[in-house]
Subunit: 78 residues, 2 copies
């Protein structure tokens, strides 16, 4: 059974680099990886916040938030 | 051919969580993942610095540094 991974970003260069490296490097046989652009999907900001995401890019893996480098604060996307 | 991934940590709780989640979630068929404890391997701090690592936990993927959450500054490990 695959586990859930959600990669939150905002289209920034730091975000794109993290997506192309880390999100793509995950084992897609074990993880169902969803990529969410919070600039375009403001309705998903609440989900990200609930998972503990403070900034993007961030990866929520099995419900745990991991902030990867720093692109933008979640507050700046509202 | 597998690519190189190096996960640098210092044994801190934030590091352990990131290792057990992100380092383990990488596709080991495509990435040769090395885990380096910089507290025990001070001789590897220079490698981490050269790759652009500023704090741990960090993952260097294809030569690019990704800082994951924040455990400790590299400077504090010297």
């Amino acid at each position: 059974m695959t586990k859930k991974a959600v990669f939150y970003h905002a289209g920034c260069p730091v975000c794109v680099e993290a997506e192309q490296s880390i999100a793509h490097a995950l084992d897609h046989a074990r993880y169902d990886v969803e990529v969410v652009h919070l600039g375009e999907r403001k309705d998903r900001i609440k989900d990200a916040e609930t998972a503990g995401v403070k900034s993007v890019p961030a990866l929520v893996l099995d419900g745990l938030p991991f902030h990867i480098n720093f692109g933008a604060a979640l507050e700046a996307l509202k």
